[in-house]
Symmetry: C2
Subunit: 379 residues, 2 copies
């Protein structure tokens, strides 16, 4: 019996389970609590935090998993040490994961690779911030190097004073900081590739990611109006990163499109929100592909099945019973995914996917059903 262990019990681990079931793979998940999103669907669960060595030992115990993987990048080094001790391969590995976890390490590495990205520098003092702002139009994007997601750990600053609290926290041992040029981009794009240890890589079509308030609201696959050159350039960037950093599993590269150019924004080495469209919209979903990649099995076809697929996130509203919306999901082509998470305003609690022919039509349908689901059918 093939068995994959996963650290992290959120919706990404939850959505690995259907793919694992189909493939005959047992999925064992380290979940934070019995109420974690993945608790419903995981085939085997261990309750505990990644920093809890006993829990990690249970995750690795007999029948021993063939491989250990992650649904987030916040993995303490003890997990890698224990996995090495139990001789369970970790994919992606410790070194690769560092570049997804630490934005300063990531920026440095991308710089060495000569890949295009926004101007940036690590900052430790107000003077560092001042120096950067003075040559970049008096505005910058201050980021914590670790721990951010969905707009958290990111702040627009126009003066060094606006960075004060984070600078103090960093000096006191908190997350290190970097500042980046605030790029006047045309739109945000994302490309995903999967890479297996033996080196095979497959890329999905480049997608457009529509953000609202720093959170991904919609993904359009493929990105409308793409030139083949841009798809090829994005794919080339993602392949270079995957090969150079020795990524195994799925890699998402978030990009800014500026005129006809691409700049690398962020990396994620795991299934990612920008790839949820692939569950229905591609021959092989990112979840199936991630499992195939970390198991070093041949990768699946990543072609899109429809001219356009749109994924709209369901961002938590004020109501708590999303399921009560189901009787109101009257669009027969809308595929609704609920994550079984408690609802908080703005929290990703589900998503909706619609496939079709015309971008505007498909976007409208996805947004409409997402609104119905968010409001439990009361909108």
């Amino acid at each position: 019996m093939t068995r994959v262990a996963v650290v992290g019990g959120g919706q990404l681990a939850r959505m690995l389970a259907p793919a694992a079931t189909a493939m005959g793979v047992t999925l064992r998940v380290l979940i934070e609590s019995g109420r974690a999103s993945a608790a419903l669907a995981a085939h085997e669960t261990v309750v505990g935090l990644p920093g809890d060595a006993d829990a990690v030992r249970q995750l690795l115990a007999d029948p021993r998993p063939d491989v250990l993987t992650w649904e987030h990048e916040h993995i303490p080094s003890t997990v890698f040490d224990l996995a090495a001790e139990w001789r369970v391969p970790t994919r992606p590995g410790r070194e690769a994961l560092l570049f997804a976890r630490d934005k300063i390490a990531m920026r440095e590495r991308l710089g060495h690779m000569g890949l295009p990205m926004p101007a940036w520098r690590a900052v430790e003092t107000e003077d560092d911030v001042e120096a950067f702002l003075s040559v970049h139009g008096s505005v910058g994007v201050l980021k914590r190097a670790r721990g951010g997601y969905d707009g958290k750990g990111v702040r627009i600053v126009r003066s060094p004073a606006q960075a004060d609290d984070w600078l103090s926290a960093a000096a006191a041992g908190g997350p290190a900081l970097l500042i980046e040029d605030r790029v006047a981009y045309t739109r945000e794009l994302a490309i995903q590739v999967a890479r297996r240890p033996s080196g095979e890589i497959r890329a999905w079509p480049l997608v457009e990611s529509v953000q609202r308030d720093g959170v991904c609201a919609e993904v359009i696959a493929p990105a409308p109006g793409l030139s083949p050159t841009v798809q090829a350039e994005a794919e080339s960037i993602a392949r270079r990163i995957a090969d150079t950093v020795d990524v195994t599993g799925v890699l998402a590269v978030e990009l800014f499109e500026v005129g006809g150019r691409l700049l690398v924004n962020e990396l994620a080495m795991r299934p990612h929100n920008c790839g949820h469209w692939s569950i229905e919209g591609s021959v092989t979903s990112q979840f199936e592909q991630h499992l195939r990649a970390v198991l070093d099995w041949p990768l699946g076809d990543t072609a899109a099945l429809a001219p356009v697929t749109v994924m709209a996130n369901v961002l938590g509203g004020s109501r708590t019973v999303l399921e009560s919306a189901w009787p109101h999901v009257i669009d027969p082509g809308a595929k609704v995914h609920l994550y079984g998470k408690g609802v908080r305003p703005g929290r990703k609690v589900g998503h909706v996917t619609v496939m079709g022919q015309q971008v505007d039509d498909v976007r409208g349908r996805a947004a409409q059903t997402a609104a119905v689901v968010r409001d439990g059918g009361q909108s």
Copy 2:
């Protein structure tokens, strides 16, 4: 939390789980043993047989399921009695299920509806068999009214003597018998519809079912070279059965195509092998649709996503470790489903689905991957 209880732990219950996970529905399954196919994937399990009242009570216990459904038709009446006592609706219901479980009741009902089917009669004695054979070309298909599947409980007879053992068993309280005309059909087709309690019905495209040794080997969706008339006629037959018998959930109608005519062969009131292609090949899979139907939620679109989708069953070979085949699955478009069942020769232990443009090409690819999987990569 919406919760669906299922009687039966085979691959049909297993394949309900991914759809349930996506929809945020908790799936509680009555499995025969911890090694049942559905054990891996079910969200909650109760171990026991359908005839075990204590097990059925656990299946119905708090938190109480919203509905009770089946993955096979062999449901003792005690289950319906207990469900009524616990006020859990059963879908499909007792009366509807009878027509899928008992081939004599089914033939009688179809006769009352005036639907086309092979000539048939119930038989209790050698004289009954003789009388039928004498007017139907001296050959008939003897069937046990209950309990058959995959060619079991079916026998070609050319003389009353060949029916002797089953006649004796029937007289001694075993399954009742019927005999049917051995139809010289062009091919076998199947149509599936889903119907919800409020009456909404949706039909999938008519498919061709290719049988070998009495077992379904391949399904081609849609059936090649169909006239719109035949699709419409099949849909009309299935809709009439679903409405008349008050089917809730998915109904499969297996058909013989004889020249341009259709005859009803068998019924199944549950997800069915002829609909596995829909997991990847249709906007809405039969598994998702069955859950939506029994929950009385709006039904999903049943359109096909590709010009042709072929499902090839993996019928057990001599080897036992199907998973060892995965590294050999080199067709990137082949979707492999393993059921986690022990391998016996001829047993359905998995299936492969391929989507594409040309029937011959897609059939060849599906068959090739099914062979690789069957032989654990050693073919």
